[in-house]
Amino acid sequence: MAETAEIAIDGISMVYTLPDSEVDALNDVSLDIAKGEIMSVLGPSGCGKTTLLNIIAGFLSPTRGEVRVAGTPVKGPGAERGMVFQQGALFEWLSVEQNISFGPRMCGRDRAETADTVQRLLGIVGLVEFADKPVYQLSGGMQQRVALARCLANDPDVILMDEPLGALDALTREKMQGLVLRLWKETGKTILLITHSVEEALFLGERLIVMAPRPGRIEKEFRLPFADEALEKPARDVKAGVEFVSAREEILSMIWDMEEEIMGDNG
């Protein structure tokens, strides 16, 4: 079967069985992500977005359906699908350099080649002078730059990001969004990004998926110009634009309604 999508999500359902009930974390979710696309996923807590990411990463196997990456069904984690997590996934016993070279070392790549890659990536994320520092001495933003570089060092086809900027302060977060966009443009990687921030999802996603809970499903899909705009215009200008603001309000009120519904259920 010839497939054009880099990531093909094909009728995924995920049912968690509890002692007295079943929870539909995901219900028949289908989605194609093209090669080189950057897609963001938004949704209230409990909408199954993290479950979806974990299925694509190969950490969970779905109850029904299948995920294919570059035509190959996902059976478990693999180096062709890089991950960037929220803080706390770096190896604190290693230096910045050793963290970045972790993947190539595990895969047994050529040492000299790896050293070149690490130097290049240190330059891209602006941490050349921190190469020998232990990662715990770095600020939160710097640590996430190490996480990005560590992921890129393995040259994966697909990068899955699970709220990579979620724990950063607002200013650092905006700067890091710019870095993510730049890396996406320069490397041409296929990126799937999960976030809680509507603004971030709008800004970074060429496509944006809004998910809804109970059962976890795709509620709405947007195609957005902002990620491309931001390559030419300053980020602040993009985010202050009329289109950006109205899209933000639309999505915010959509998620607000979903949250209301959940609260109503409980009350």
Partner: protein, 287 residues
């Protein structure tokens, strides 16, 4: 209102607050506002020594109960020079320390893999959990009679006792080190192409090292206490046996010297372990 800057000496002694705590208005209940109180530590030591000096000078206590300070000093010089019961003082200390290090070494050698097995596999956990949980609350000293029945009172018996004392501490420490690994680190490593063995070697092991080291420190402390007690029961060498034999000869001064040495060496072991930890595992608590 200008306040005078306290001298470095006053801060070191704990008589003045340092520049951070000085600005705090709420100090009661704030643990960081409690300083070392070194001046008062020195005061305590000075009072204790002075009491001993005064008691000795005026013969206030029968030497049978507590020796005079000069007599104790003479005895110390004598033991250092001639040894005690044909064994140099350093050898008494050395054999006790050697027993502790051997016990902790073998305990770690068996306990760490056991703890890993328990933390990583349901079968390992199921197999060893009943034994470990049963043995955990039993004080090692309660095992002495059984070990004497099995192995007699030779060197092997003592090291075996210390091995048991450290074994369960090390097993539990290694198990909790393994269990404490954050799943995102493991997931990250898998996504970077690491194999199971590589994850064990490069993620789970370094992640468990801080807790393993805490286990080693605890083991050292427990074994030091246990070795002295074991030597009290049955041994011809070692600090514990030294004070027990001295008691039989009513040499209270030697008993006191032995007790002070046991305290000092226990403290030195703790200090060395803390230093080693800072040096070997600087990332502790930074994950």
């Amino acid at each position: 209102m200008s306040r005078q800057k306290p001298s470095g000496l006053a801060i070191w002694l704990g008589l003045s607050d340092n520049s951070f705590t000085r600005q705090k208005t709420v100090k009661f209940g704030d643990a960081t506002a409690v300083n070392s109180g070194r001046f008062y530590s020195m005061l305590t030591l000075a009072v204790l020594v002075a009491a001993w000096v005064v008691a000795s000078a005026f013969d206030l206590v029968e030497p049978f109960y507590w020796p005079s300070i000069s007599g104790t000093w003479e005895r110390l010089v004598k033991i250092v020079g001639e040894g005690f019961r044909n064994t140099a003082l350093l050898d008494h200390v050395g054999i006790s320390v050697y027993r502790v290090l051997s016990g902790v070494f073998y305990g770690a050698l068996v306990g760490i893999p056991l703890g890993f097995a328990m933390g990583l596999s349901s079968i390992g956990r199921g197999l060893f959990d009943p034994v470990v949980e049963f043995m955990r609350p039993i004080p090692p000293l309660a095992l002495i009679p059984l070990i004497i029945l099995w192995f007699g009172i030779d060197e092997f018996a003592k090291i075996f006792l210390l091995f048991l004392a450290s074994l369960f501490i090390m097993t539990i420490a290694a198990r909790s080190g393994v269990s404490s690994v954050r799943i995102t680190k493991v997931h990250a490593a898998y996504s970077l192409g690491a194999s199971k063995l590589q994850i064990l070697r490069h993620v789970i092991l370094p992640n468990a090292l801080p807790e393993i080291f805490t286990g080693l420190r605890t083991s050292m402390g427990v074994c030091w206490g246990t070795v002295v007690a074991a030597e009290l029961v049955a041994a011809d060498k070692g600090l514990g046996s030294m004070i027990m034999i001295a008691k039989n000869f009513l040499q209270t001064d030697t008993v006191v010297i032995g007790i002070i040495l046991i305290g000092i060496i226990g403290y030195i072991i703790e200090l060395i372990m803390r230093r080693l930890e800072q040096w070997l595992i600087p990332w502790r608590g930074k994950g």
